[in-house]
């Protein structure tokens, strides 16, 4: 399937059609998670822990069960005890026991707001009131609320029996360090010894939330025969099916999951929170059960991504050649192992050729919510440290920050710090595109500054399926199992239309449930346009082969005498006198030539096309108030090939905006008992329209040879550079190096005061 990416003249791909599901979404007709209900549906709610760390000695639900209107009360005792244990999978792994205990605590509650029971009742109000009547005997334990506390030699241990897995020097016995990652290359001591200049710093970032606007929601309907249906706002219906089966001890074949429209996820709707509880409640209640989280629950009990502490140093020769880099990354995993520190280690120095390096990452559990994937998990955090230091290096050397990056940039054939060598990549081209953009030469005024930073993300391949069928009017339907979170239906239709040679409006793209489409891994990892798109192209090519065969049958010629050109079967070679037949004409004859034309394909690409991005940011920092205003922002990124450029731009802009929020304002605030003090959008301040300027985009296209059209994933990379980009702009504007996020007004004022003392 590869090798066709170069020089292909596209007719549909690269155009900007109105998305097929757009009408439903601008008229309010699209149905999201909370929009589904069934006759007789009960409202399910979680009951959540008032403590950040406590042992559950007993739970008595009898008072709650007697409340009129209550249909079912459940605790961990209503689930089989799935033991905790790490099952490695690729670069990460899975722990079904931990997943089960995230949904409903079993032995201990591990963060404030950790669910330990659930109630289904005729109204949400009754269910919440009944939840208050659940009697729990707690043994309150000392909470571990910071990395410092978690790593202290006498720290309370969250998980008895948890020994540190992985690489490097590890602590003896039980530890809150669940695992360590170590990447080493060259000779780190010699590398720093030959450095003329070393830049170094300690950095930290707070826990932040994905901040999707739609709270988690699902509807579960357990039927009398043991089968069940679940409607879920999820990034992956097949993932929900597998997790629900494992966690509830059900036959996976008995569960059908329908993905609803999804109101944002950014990785945070990959984990399963509600569905297993809703299903068990539904079984016990004998009614459908709907569960929706409040915004407060979303902040307390889902997401976030890790807070971190980092130390890093980079050594270079006086000509700017980087020769050594070393870092130690400590990431908060929350209640259970599984922070993205591994990915941070893999990405942190990858944009640059560095012969001597040592990268150590620690995954640390503590009494905060269990982290979930968040857009390029871990990479923005690591890049904040690395790109700040590269900026320091450029300043000390008196070099242009883009030129210094170009001098050290990794290119095709370069070896990533975690092992593999790169195929064609577009990092240098992206740096050059940013340098050549008018933004880079725009004038700056007083209190203003400009920052540059780069970022890298692997992107994912994984499993996908697609089915393409031809209607008798010559239109087509393409069906996949990936929830459309940002316009992917339109991209699937564009690729199908390209192969068929018809207009994209003649292709209807559908997202199917787990019973009606082949397996698809999650909408995540920037993988849908790449991997699912590959399945769509392959299935459509099979359809084209069928259509050619039908034409050959009608004309009574050999198959290789029929070519497919722009939506027509064209007779060639000795059969040229037969002329041509359009897709519509062939489709109208399907009944007589062999019946319906349908084809399916599946893929499981082990790798994807890595994507590099370079961001430019201009800020103005008000020295009186500490408020930072973003004046200009530009994103350059290698897309490989932009299938629907509007939605590629949208990914660039959205990732940048999330990153700007992370840099400037967003953070979880905690009280001393471990309670989140800002579980709402008023106090957890995501960027609003008046906080941002227009965000300019540059789509660089260095084709990815693994995809027939050259597609790389685009969704995640855009959030990798902004933390460093904004920090570097603020360094430029104020002369102060900010190493602690967020760079919110009080912190900026403190830093400016400190600098002027």
């Amino acid at each position: 399937m590869s090798g066709q990416s170069e020089e292909r003249k596209f007719k549909q791909v690269g155009s900007r059609p109105i998305r097929h599901d757009g009408l439903e979404k601008v008229t309010g007709r699209a149905r999201f998670g909370a929009d589904y209900t069934l006759p007789g549906a009960q409202e399910g709610v979680f009951v959540r822990s008032p403590y950040a760390h406590a042992r559950i000695l007993s739970i008595d639900t009898s008072r709650a069960e007697k409340v009129p209107g209550v249909r079912a009360v459940i605790t961990a005792a209503d689930f089989p005890d799935v033991p905790m244990g790490w099952i490695p999978a690729g670069s990460t792994g899975i722990d079904f026991g931990a997943n089960q205990r995230t949904i409903l605590a079993r032995e201990k509650v591990l963060y404030h707001g950790h669910a330990f029971a659930a109630v289904a009742a005729s109204t949400r109000e009754i269910a919440l009131a009944a939840g208050e009547l659940i009697d729990v005997e707690w043994e309150v334990l000392t909470p571990v609320l910071s990395l410092e506390q978690a790593l202290a030699p006498d720290a309370p241990i969250l998980h008895e029996g948890q020994e540190t897995m992985g690489d490097g020097d590890k602590p003896e016995g039980d530890s809150n360090i669940s695992s360590q990652v170590l990447f080493e290359g060259g000779d780190i001591e010699a590398g720093f010894a030959e450095s003329d200049l070393i830049v170094e710093g300690h950095f930290d970032t707070p826990m932040v939330h994905q901040g999707y606007i739609e709270p988690h929601a699902c509807l579960a309907n357990a039927r009398e025969d043991g089968t069940s249906e679940i409607w879920s706002s999820t990034q992956g219906a097949f993932g929900v099916k597998g997790e629900v089966a494992m966690i509830t001890g059900s036959d996976p074949n008995s569960i059908k999951v329908t993905p609803t429209e999804i109101g944002g996820g950014f990785g945070g709707k990959i984990p399963v929170y509600l569905e297993p509880a809703a299903l068990v409640l539904s079984r016990k209640a004998g009614r459908p059960v709907k569960m929706t989280m409040s915004r407060e629950e979303v902040f307390r009990g889902t997401g976030p991504t890790s807070g971190s502490r980092m130390w890093a140093r980079i050594g270079a020769r006086s000509d700017g050649t980087i020769v050594a880099a070393e870092t130690r990354l400590e990431f908060e995993a929350g209640a259970f192992r599984g922070s993205p520190v591994g990915a941070a280690c893999m990405t942190i120095f990858t944009p640059y050729v560095i012969p001597n390096f040592k990268i150590l990452g620690l995954d640390v559990v503590l009494n905060k919510p269990r982290v979930a994937a968040y857009r390029a998990p871990g990479a923005p955090i690591g890049a904040f440290a690395a790109e700040s230091l590269i900026d320091d290096l450029a300043r000390k050397l008196g070099r242009d920050p883009i030129e210094l990056r170009l001098q050290n940039a990794i290119e095709e054939g370069g070896v990533a710090k975690y092992g593999p060598s790169f195929g064609p990549i577009g990092f240098k081209q992206t740096l050059e595109a940013a340098r050549n953009h008018p933004h880079y030469k725009a004038e700056l005024g007083e209190h203003q500054g400009r920052g540059v930073a780069a970022g890298f993300w692997f992107n994912a391949g994984m499993q996908s399926s697609a089915t393409v069928s031809v209607n008798d009017d010559g239109s087509a339907v393409v069906r996949t199992g990936n929830p459309d979170i940002g316009g992917s239906r339109a991209s699937m239709a564009l690729m199908c239309a390209e192969e068929l040679g018809i207009d994209v409006t003649r292709v209807r793209p559908l997202v199917g449930d787990t019973d009606s489409v082949g397996y698809c891994d999650v909408t995540g990892g920037s993988r849908v346009t790449y991997a699912t798109g590959m399945a769509v192209i392959e299935a459509t090519r099979q359809v084209v082969d069928h259509l050619r065969a039908r034409a050959a049958t009608v004309w009574n010629v050999e198959l290789d005498s029929v070519e497919w050109q722009d939506g027509n079967a064209v007779a060639i070679n000795g059969a040229a006198e037969k002329g041509s037949m359009s897709l519509g004409e062939i489709a109208a004859k399907m009944r007589m030539t062999g019946g319906p034309v349908v084809a399916s394909a599946s893929v499981n690409p082990p790798a994807a096309g890595p994507a590099f991005g370079v961001h430019l940011c201009d800020v103005e920092v008000d020295p009186e108030t500490g408020v930072t205003r973003v004046l200009r922002y530009t994103v350059a990124q290698d897309a490989g090939k932009a299938i629907h450029p509007t939605f590629v731009e949208g990914q660039y802009q959205g990732g940048a905006a999330q990153g700007i929020g992370w840099a400037l304002n967003e953070e979880y605030l905690w009280d001393e008992e471990g309670r989140v003090e800002n579980p709402g959008f008023l106090d957890y301040r995501v960027p609003v329209a008046s906080d941002l300027p227009m965000i300019d985009t540059i789509i660089v296209e260095v084709p990815n040879p693994l995809h027939p059209y050259g597609v790389r994933g685009v969704g995640e990379t855009p959030i990798v550079p902004p933390l460093g980009t904004v920090a570097n702009a603020m360094r430029d504007a104020t002369g102060v190096r900010f190493r602690s996020l967020p760079m919110s007004p009080p912190r900026v004022l403190d830093a400016l005061d400190g600098a002027s003392d």
């Binding site: 900007r16 109105i18 599901d21 757009g22 009408l23 979404k25 601008v26 008229t27 309010g28 699209a30 999201f32 909370a34 929009d35 409202e43 009951v47 959540r48 822990s49 008032p50 404030h112 707001g113 005729s122 109204t123 949400r124 109000e125 009754i126 919440l128 208050e132 659940i134 009697d135 729990v136 994905q210 999707y212 606007i213 739609e214 709270p215 429209e261 109101g263 944002g264 409040s294 915004r295 407060e296 979170i485 940002g486 316009g487 509007t646 731009e649 949208g650 990914q651 802009q653 959205g654 709402g680 959008f681 008023l682 995501v686 960027p687 609003v688 329209a689 008046s690 941002l692 227009m694």
Partner: protein
């Protein structure tokens, strides 16, 4: 015993609680509904009337996903009691398009790809219609400040603002 501080529960359609009868005009249609005293207009629309185009994002008036127009004023329907709609008019996302004809704002949202996941879209469109009714020729900054009560986590607002400004231009042209 949850210790989670104040929670604003959604009040469901409970049978044995005294209900208030509300007569209101929704999208031009006279509508009658029964609601509990503390039920929000958002819940009455979504759960009582099945009008799920108005979205819930926070129930604290911070996200704008539930924006509706009540007697000509843009409000978050999560902070309005259903009973307050008695004798008043409510406009929701469902009432904007006339038959198959979309409004200029809806059309420009489509043309610009001003939505990714789409959950904030109904609230943004309701708010943007109100903006353009009050100010047919807003500057970029005026649009950004008027829409600052509507959160979008996907787009970075760029395409939304462009769509609104272009819709304003289309509407001015239509009026001229």
């Amino acid at each position: 015993m949850t210790g989670l501080g104040p929670v604003r529960p959604r009040v469901g359609r409970e049978k044995n609680v005294a209900k208030i009868r509300v007569e209101t005009t929704i999208n031009g249609e006279e509508t009658e509904l029964l609601c509990a005293g503390q039920e929000s207009l958002l819940d009455a629309l979504r759960d009582g009337l099945g009008m799920t185009g108005t979205k819930e994002g926070c129930t604290t008036g911070d996200c704008g996903a539930c924006s509706v127009v009540l007697d000509g004023r843009l409000v978050p329907s999560c902070l309005v009691l259903a009973a307050e709609a008695n004798g008043r008019t409510v406009q929701t996302i469902e009432g904007l398009a006339e038959g198959s004809k979309l409004t200029a704002v809806q059309q420009q949202f489509l043309e610009h790809g001003a939505l990714q996941c789409g959950i904030c879209t109904p609230g943004f469109i309701v708010a943007a219609e109100k903006l353009l009714e009050k100010n047919p020729d807003p500057t970029e900054q005026e649009a950004r400040y008027f829409l600052a009560g509507n959160l979008c986590r996907c787009t970075g607002y760029d395409k939304i603002i462009r769509a609104v400004l272009d819709a304003a231009a289309v509407m001015r042209e239509e009026r001229a």
